[in-house]
């Protein structure tokens, strides 16, 4: 616990502080750039991108060794993996555009074939004399703990670039994510924005390879935006929340990892993000499970109450056991089914409401009445008191006549 607090406050040593800062920045950058893919329902495109880096990684290593350099040069490896990931993205695009195959099949095909080819190349690398210590397998699961100052700088700089890009382009990007056709109509270059969004994901993925490994980087691109989506429908807020969730996952996860041995950073960062997701899924007031359950239940009660009262008003039998239960609970009917005084008042009220609704179009004009009538809203909530007064006056006039 002490070690955890120490890591949180950056006082657990230079290297630990470096990792915590790096993970926080990376978490925020990944989450923000993943948001657009998630909003465009292309979450698993990130998975294809991540797996498609492997052949490039291996080829870059082989090329660098053949040219007489150190095969482990990080920049070289990253460039190689970026190129092969890009080819993967193009391949998905070609398959989707040119054939009848759906996007999920295209993504899965590219992901597995590129990864399989990468494994073939890895076995070649391992059989090379220089390849035995290449440590390329580290890219599968990541190795944050071994993060060097240079790595941290690289991450910080790229996170900053991604952040600035996102901030500058947030409007066109959100427009494209929300409604590409409308965006095109507004003069936004949809294709370019698509490319920018993909390029950012690609950059984050490639950087994340070294840090958390190619599978867990996918988690950081997907989980925070999905969690953020629970709390708001406003895209710019989703973007902000997503970055916040990603950043705090990186921060907490890295600090946890520094607090004891054998706690891999990547996993803890992802599990922190997942914890945020679970809390959002259950407790969000907007789209959370609990709120939805409560709303559904409240809706059911309203439906049965109104339906029951309408049936009583029309003297029709009630066919539904739940309706009877609701009416009993409300004191509209006694346990033996006889209507109470309260019930009579409620029935009178529902009749007046029905009358108001039926007269509203003729008294107020069609335009004043909502086209899609919500069958549950009482007239006195749907209309202003003045309008209600008008309706009631007309009703009285008709009744007298």
């Amino acid at each position: 616990m002490e070690a955890f607090v120490a890591a949180l406050t950056f006082s657990a040593g230079y290297n630990a502080a470096l990792v915590v800062i790096g993970a926080t920045l990376f978490g925020a950058a990944a989450a923000a750039s993943g948001t657009f893919l998630v909003l465009r329902r292309q979450a698993l495109m990130t998975d294809a991108i991540a797996h498609a880096t492997l052949p490039g990684l291996a080829i870059a290593f082989m090329v660098m060794v053949a040219a007489g350099f150190d095969g482990r040069n990080l920049l070289g490896l990253l460039i190689g993996s970026a190129i092969s990931a890009l080819i993967g993205v193009v391949a998905v695009d070609v398959i989707v555009k040119r054939t009848r195959l759906m996007e999920d099949a295209a993504i899965g095909a590219v992901l597995s074939v590129f990864f399989g080819f990468g494994v073939v190349l890895l076995t070649i690398v391992q059989s090379m004399s220089a390849g035995r210590q290449a440590g390329l397998e580290g890219f599968l699961l990541g190795s944050t703990a071994g993060m060097l100052r240079a790595d941290a700088m690289l991450i910080a700089v790229s996170a900053a670039v991604v952040g600035v890009l996102l901030f500058v382009l947030r409007r066109p990007l959100t427009l494209v994510a929300f409604d590409p056709q409308y965006a095109a109509g507004q003069g936004v270059k949809v294709r370019l924005m698509d490319l920018v969004a993909t390029a950012m994901v690609l950059a984050v993925t490639v950087i994340g390879l070294k840090l958390v490994g190619l599978i867990l980087v996918v988690a950081l691109l997907i989980i925070p935006p999905v969690a953020a989506r629970f709390w708001t429908n406003d895209i710019s807020k989703v973007l902000f929340l997503s970055a916040l969730f990603g950043g705090s996952s990186g921060y907490v996860g890295a600090a946890l990892s520094a607090s004891a041995p054998a706690l891999p950073t990547g996993s803890l960062v992802v599990l922190s993000a997942f914890a945020i997701f679970v809390v959002s899924l259950v407790f969000s007031t907007q789209r959370g499970v609990l709120a939805a359950l409560l709303r559904r239940r409240a809706l059911a009660v309203r439906v049965h109450r109104r339906q029951g009262l309408l049936a009583l008003a029309a003297g029709e039998p009630i066919y539904d056991a739940m309706t009877i239960k609701v009416l009993r609970r409300d004191g509209v009917i006694r346990p033996d089914g006889v209507m109470t005084d309260n019930g009579r008042a409620a029935v009178a009220e529902i009749r007046r409401d029905e009358l108001r609704w039926s007269m509203a179009p003729s008294v107020l004009g069609d335009d004043a009445v909502p086209a899609q009538r919500d069958a549950l809203t009482p007239a006195d909530e749907a209309f202003t008191p003045d309008q209600i007064a008008l309706i009631d006056a007309e009703a009285q006039r008709l009744a007298v006549v």
Binding site: V38, R41, Q42, A43, L44, T46, D47, V94, I95, R98, T99, R100, L101, M102, D104, A105, I107, G108, A109, L111, S112, V113, F114, F115, G116, F117, G118, V119, V120, L122, T123, I124, S127, L140, L141, G213, I215, L216, V218, A219, I222, I223, V226, R229, F230, A262, L263, P264, G266, S267, L268, V270, L271, A273, F274, F277, L281, R287, V289, A292
Partner: protein, 304 residues
């Protein structure tokens, strides 16, 4: 091809073909239902399953691993369904959340359990271990008639063969309702087909195929075979039955070609070592799909 082939290559080849065909069967329905990536998700959660299986039993033998992987696959399927339904999340994102989180948990457990032996099995699970499935007693083609030699066949062969048979029987048995529910779910439900149960069953069968295959051939082949052969077949024909047969054929051919190329091509090119057979089989399936994408007679969409 002689004695050496029987001893070293026959069983891996047969197992690879069985695994490929087993995965291609449910794959045909998954790609038509836009659930192709369920194979991807299941393959990723095999890792935590193996680790938990190891932690509970303390052994790295096959059955704890398979049971652990199977349990993890079912948990993943349940989690994906729950996230999809409860959170009203699109399937891709729901899968992404579920399998990456479980994978992260697997990596954490792996580090915590801190065992080199399990570490070995992680690579095994990912890359497979086809080349090691040697038939020591298979001294020549004659051994195929020798009961004592047959008894020494790798157990993976029998496991894979039984799952392949189960998969083929299930495909035939549930063919009609599956095709109907995949083509027009509303109509299928209206004639009383339990469409939700059927869809769950398909995913469970996919999980069984994935778990049975990963042990013998590794997760990469599993993902590739779920998707590439059916996708290839999809671009060659407009008839469902033909598509499934073609996909099985493509899967088998990819397995054979991939295995042979991985084993012999490097030698022809002057390298000392062969390359990963699983990786090569996945690569060959990609080549097959690439050819279909370029030249398949039914590659285009017929209707908008």
């Amino acid at each position: 091809m002689g004695a050496e082939f029987v001893q070293l290559s026959l069983t891996p080849l047969v197992i690879a073909v069985l695994a490929a065909v087993t995965c291609a069967m449910p794959g045909n329905f998954l790609i038509l239902r836009r659930q192709a990536l369920i194979g991807d998700a299941i393959s990723h959660v095999v890792l935590p399953g193996i680790v938990v299986g190891f932690i509970i039993t303390g052994s790295v033998t096959t059955w704890p691993m398979m049971l652990g992987a199977g349990a993890a696959a079912l948990i993943a399927v349940a989690m994906i369904e729950a996230i999809k339904r409860l959170g009203k999340i699109e399937p891709g994102a729901a899968m992404g959340v579920a399998f990456t989180a479980m994978f992260a948990a697997g990596v954490l457990l792996l580090e915590q359990s801190n065992t080199a032996s399990v570490h070995l099995d992680v690579e095994h699970a990912l890359f497979g271990n086809l080349e090691s499935l040697i038939w020591f007693d298979g001294l020549g083609w004659a051994s195929l008639l020798d009961p004592s030699a047959l008894a020494q066949l790798p157990p993976e062969l029998f496991r894979m063969a039984s799952v392949a048979v189960i998969m083929i029987i299930a495909t035939i048995l549930f063919w009609r309702p599956l095709v109907m529910a995949t083509f027009d779910e509303a109509f299928a439900a209206s004639v009383g087909i339990p469409v939700n149960l059927l869809s769950l069953m398909l995913v469970v069968f996919a999980a069984i195929a994935a778990v049975a295959a990963f042990d013998a051939v590794g997760s990469i082949i599993v993902i590739a075979m779920f998707i590439c052969p059916p996708a290839t077949a999809r671009l060659l024909t407009d008839r469902m039955g033909v598509q499934v047969l073609i996909s099985a054929l493509v899967a088998a051919v990819c397995a054979v070609v991939g295995y042979v190329v991985a084993g012999y091509a490097p030698l022809w090119l002057g390298f000392d070592n062969s390359v990963s057979a699983s990786g090569m089989i996945a690569t060959v399936s990609g080549v097959a799909l690439g050819l279909a994408v370029a030249f398949g007679p039914r590659r285009r969409q017929v209707a908008g």
